[in-house]
């Protein structure tokens, strides 16, 4: 069995959660990762009173970027925006329970960074 390609990661890749697009998202943001074959992911988000009430992702990419997006949607759905805002990059990855190898960091971070920019208008993580 593979180290980075765990059952959990492969499961999210083969059975992506919350895959697709929302009809009327409050915000929809698509970004690409030039470091990895110009992969693109789009996140659609709906908020109500500071809560993330719905989220979908779509796009194409490597296993790590797609699995990370799928895990992300699972974890943030129902969460309060305020609870996630002050997490550092590493804390955020910890919450998602993914620890990519160095060369796949950008892939793993593609969806989280789209989320950060969409939700808070800030691409940078707090220190």
């Amino acid at each position: 069995m593979s180290q980075a390609y765990t059952e959990r990661v492969l499961d999210h890749f083969q059975n992506p959660r919350n895959f697709g697009q929302l009809d009327q998202p409050d915000i929809s943001l698509e970004q690409s990762n030039p470091a990895c074959a110009a992969d693109r992911i789009r996140l659609d988000l709906r908020f109500e009173e500071g809560e993330i009430v719905d989220v979908r992702f779509s796009g194409q990419g490597c296993v790590i970027s797609l699995a990370a997006a799928s895990i992300l949607t699972e974890r943030i759905k129902g969460a309060l925006l305020a609870d996630l805002q002050d997490l550092s990059r590493d804390e955020f990855l910890e919450m998602l329970a993914i620890s990519p190898r160095a060369s796949q960091l950008k892939c793993a971070l593609l969806a989280p960074e789209i989320f950060r920019e969409a939700a808070y208008g800030e691409p940078e993580w707090p220190r």
Partner: protein, 410 residues
């Protein structure tokens, strides 16, 4: 596994090849990105620092004389390797990329006029594409592209289409770093010269893997990088005809490249030093000299032959893998580079899973994004061979690819 009839017994000369990655012996197949270094190169660098280190030129002391001598011997080794007429035609720079930038700035800005054409091919590396985009944008000139056919060979009929007096320069790779295609430079150069165009050969992939003779090719410029041919990082070469170097203005300026300087003006020394402003990569040139010595002991023709056998064998093995698509021409027209995709898998994932088996391949656009897109994909996996690779390693890669396929598609 077939008999390793051309196997060059070289692995023990390369300390990194003794390494294990994730508990598996390293199989290094990212040679088109950079190659490994034999002990003789590593030692040449250490020895220089430990015994003769000094700045070159203008020093009267013994260390300075020794350093200058070794640096100039390295230049002469490059001259011999490329069969240039004169070692003043060999300019040391950081890399092939810098060498192309030197030409696009120095020759380009003073020779390319509005309406002129720089002719490239569809298989150029970014380093032999973007400098010409910037030059032509700056000068109101434009780029035209010799196409490739579906097997990745240069469309020779495009020469008829694009070659006329407006073409100032044809810049073409000796070997594609993606498809492995070896281009017929001699013929192309002859055709270009007929309309008065100059020819620049991007030798970053060809010089390390094939015998290359600038007089036989009759090219005007040729560039290559030391780190892709067993040498250190930080050293590259521009070859250019003496006459061109004499006429070209300097690219960078500073110490060592001057004749006389006042507060308001300066005059230039003769080539090559006119193009070597500041302290050059001294130890790197010397290490590069040692790399050339190593390569010449084996012989570039033998290196090429070995890689051709490897790539032919690998193509046969890979074709057994269902869903694996190989890009580029058949073994007759390519060097030891093999790009491929395995359907329904992302090359980035393939590379990551192969690494867990100790196998280093590369995934991505290989600094040739337009070519990759032209071939209708977003990325490729690439295995690129060198003299120390073996048939046995090819077998292990094929097995690992099958395993990756199982992991990723079930």
């Amino acid at each position: 596994m077939m008999r390793e009839w051309t196997q060059i017994e070289a692995q023990s000369d390369f300390p990194v090849l003794q390494r294990k990655i994730n508990g598996k012996p390293l199989i290094y197949l990212d040679n088109a990105a950079t190659t490994q270094k034999p002990n003789s190169v590593i030692n040449a660098i250490s020895d220089f620092y430990a015994t003769s280190n000094a700045n070159v030129h203008r020093a009267t002391h013994t260390l300075g004389e020794e350093a200058t001598h070794k640096y100039e011997c390295a230049r002469n080794r490059v001259r011999k390797l490329l069969n240039a007429q004169n070692s003043s035609e060999i300019v040391f720079v950081r890399s092939a990329t810098e060498a192309i930038n030197l030409v696009s700035h120095s020759w380009g800005l003073s020779n390319v006029q509005p309406g002129d054409i720089i002719l490239l091919t569809e298989m150029e590396h970014h380093s032999n594409l973007i400098p010409w985009q910037l030059l032509t944008q700056d000068r109101g000139a434009r780029i035209e592209l010799l196409g490739i056919d579906d097997s990745g060979l240069l469309k020779m009929e495009d020469l008829d289409r694009y070659l006329d007096e407006r073409v100032r320069l044809l810049a073409i790779t000796g070997m594609s770093n993606v498809l492995g295609t070896i281009n017929p430079i001699e013929e192309v150069a002859k055709r270009a010269h007929e309309v008065g165009a100059l020819v620049l050969v991007d030798g970053a992939q060809s010089v390390p893997h094939l015998p290359v003779d600038v007089q036989a090719l009759d090219c005007d410029f040729l560039v290559c990088s030391g780190h892709k041919m067993l040498g250190p990082t930080g050293i590259g070469v521009l070859y250019a005809r003496q006459k061109l170097l004499r006429e070209m203005p300097p690219f960078m300026s500073g110490g060592e490249m001057i004749k006389e300087v006042s507060f308001t003006n300066a005059t230039w020394s003769d080539p090559p030093s006119k193009f070597e402003a500041g302290t050059p990569p001294i130890a790197q040139a010397i290490g590069f000299g040692a790399a050339i010595e190593y390569l010449q002991k084996i012989g570039l023709a033998r290196v090429h032959e070995h890689e051709c056998s490897l790539v032919e064998y690998a193509m046969a093995q890979f074709r057994e893998i269902p869903g694996l698509e190989i890009y580029g021409p058949g073994p007759d027209h390519r060097g030891g580079i093999l790009s491929f995709n395995l359907n329904n898998t992302h090359p980035h994932d393939l590379a990551a899973i192969l690494d867990e088996q100790g196998i280093a391949i590369r995934a991505g656009h290989h600094c040739a994004q337009p070519l990759i897109n032209r071939l209708g994909v977003r990325a490729m996996a690439r295995a690129s061979f060198y003299l120390y690779n073996t048939f046995d390693e090819v077998d292990r890669v094929a097995e690992a690819l099958l395993m990756a396929k199982r992991i990723l598609t079930t």
